[in-house]
Amino acid sequence: MFRRIFALLVALSACNASAADNIVVKQATAEGAAFAFVSVNGNIIAIPLSIRLSPTSETPFILQKQLSQFGTRFVLSGNLTFSLDTDSAKLLSAAKKLELSPEDISAAADLQYKTYIGQWDGDTEKHLKIQVDGGIISAGSSMVVSFSKTFDDGEQLTGFLRNTNALLLLMELRTGFQVRLIQANKDIDEIVAKYFREHTVPPIMPITSVFVSIKEEYPEQVEKNPLYALNAISDVVSRLELKVNEDGNVVYEVPDDITMMGSPETSSRIMDGAVTSLNLDICGNPDRLLLIDLGKTGCDSVKDLLGGQ
């Protein structure tokens, strides 16, 4: 089995997409894990899309009561260890659903990533997005984040804890592949700008997904220069901001006045990726929160901490 599933991985960057019309993006889930499969001229790269918290026996959130001359305040801190869900059985199961041969699939190796904590802010009624880490990881690497939030009174604290959507772990992943440009094309610029004005941008493989959509809608124009179209889309996506919408979903925010920068007529490396998120429901499990001053766990015990306020 081990020999059968062994595959030599060539990073996306080694894939020279000389015919961008062969780019296909598919997604599948298996046993709670999600994967994007990106095919560039027959090379299929699997990108894990699910965050998995490490199954440690330790409690990740600590609530601390602090007394000072200004009164009582509460500090909620979190220290989380996590990784991308790269379980091979799940990967193979997801590939099977898409009728992909496991032997044709390579795993994305180095991924550029940025990690954010999305904290619900009761005053603005929006999620505050704070970048807590960033860099390069291998898909199997363990990652850690740490954050803290201070509450000036018990009401703020309990409101935050009661909101099951108050805390999100967000991760932006990107990996690259090479395309060769031919020449700039103003028609494609206009099509791309129009598309972004009229459509929402998917958080999973936005560049290649938008490319596939535009190619379906404007096959004649795109086929004249598919690689330029890909690069133009990449140019727009690289300028988009991530935000958490009212429903707690992660979306790309597209400004009304999208403008095209005009790509240079040279080869270019396209960086595409995915946004993945994990809802950190602190009260969903009594083992997730430790009230350090009382030695008790779970949100049910918070009232004991507030009792002495």
Binding site: F2, I5, A7, L8, L9, V10, A11, A14, N16, A46, S54, T56, S57, E58, T59, P60, F61, I62, Q64, Q66, V75, S77, N79, L80, T81, T86, S88, L92, E103, I105, S106, A107, A109, D110, D133, G135, I136, I137, S138, A139, G140, S141, S142, M143, V144, S146, Q178, T266, S267, R269, P286, D287, L290, I292, D293, L294, G295, K296, T297, S301
Partner: protein
């Protein structure tokens, strides 16, 4: 098997025949990681494996994780009503184990003359985080930090020190560490030409507090006293429930008297041992939750 050699052939071809692909000529003694030629497994193992630039038979191994090597030591002192601590941490990248053996064994059997090497980082730093605290330190190394244990020391603020000195912190992730290391290698630029570059990699690990598990590592430097500064007292009802559950789950034969005596603490340690918990023998809410879960089956 043919796929493996096909890709090797592709890589060799790319390195030797492409008009724009020119080797920066690192000599055999100065091999560099070829970042754009990782050797991957769908299973994403404990290490990441790369080809060396210019020699497909040479493989670089980089760790995917780090682990505690002896945990940490906290020295603290009281001043002006606050407790300030100094933390010493020892860690080691994970570069050995069954997964690593399996990978190297497979490659040795597949690629004739396969050789393995370890990259020596050109820089590395530790980032220590916890309870609003964040500090980056760059230790000096006398040997390859990817292969040996490293220690770092730093002062930590009062809030974090107090967390570590409370008995309950043995059950909480109190500190997380990011180990960042920079490795020199080759990547293809936007025109597919090789260039020497340095990439920073990040690995993470978490640490619980442990003043009730390894009290000797928590030292008041003014008095020499060791261990936690506060233990949690539980009422007799909770102790009774725990004794009942230990009798039910582990056939501990304890008297249900609400007193956590030596027999009860020994039974708690046994349960903690098989539940992968810190073995401090102390009554706690987490112990109670675990016992309730175990009783449910």
């Amino acid at each position: 098997m043919w796929k493996f050699y096909a890709v090797i052939a592709f890589l060799l071809s790319a390195m030797t025949t492409g008009a724009q692909v020119v080797s920066p000529s690192p000599g055999p003694a100065d091999e560099l990681v070829y970042f754009d030629a990782p050797v991957g497994f769908p299973t994403f193992r404990d290490v990441t494996v790369y080809h060396a630039w210019g020699d497909p038979k040479v493989f670089f191994l980089l760790p995917n994780g780090i682990q505690s090597d002896g945990g940490f030591t906290l020295h603290y002192k009281r001043a002006n009503g606050r407790i300030n601590g100094s933390l010493t941490l020892t860690m080691k990248p994970i570069m050995e184990g069954e997964d690593v053996k399996e990978i190297t064994s497979y490659l040795q059997n597949t690629v004739s003359g396969a050789k393995f090497t370890h990259s020596e980082p050109v820089a590395s730093e530790w980032e220590i985080l916890g309870a609003g605290f964040r500090r980056t330190v760059s230790p000096l190394y006398s040997s390859n930090p990817l292969l040996h244990s490293s220690s770092v020391s730093m002062d930590i603020p009062s809030d974090l020190t107090e967390i570590l000195l409370k008995g309950g912190s043995s059950y909480a992730t109190a500190i997380v560490v990011r180990y960042k290391f920079a490795v020199r290698g080759i990547e293809l630029d936007s025109s597919a030409s090789p260039r020497v570059t340095t990439r920073w990699f990040t690995r993470g690990v978490s640490f619980p507090g442990g003043c009730s598990v390894t009290p000797e590592r928590y030292v008041d430097i003014a008095t020499g006293r060791v261990g936690c500064i506060s233990h949690i007292t539980f009422n007799a009802d909770i102790v009774r429930e725990i004794q009942t559950l230990l009798n039910e789950v582990d056939q501990a034969s304890l008297s249900v008297d609400g007193v956590a005596g030596s027999k009860t603490r020994l039974a708690i340690r046994r349960f903690q041992s098989r539940s992968s918990m810190p073995q401090d023998g102390q009554v706690s809410s987490i112990l109670l939750h675990k016992l309730r879960d175990a009783a449910k089956g």
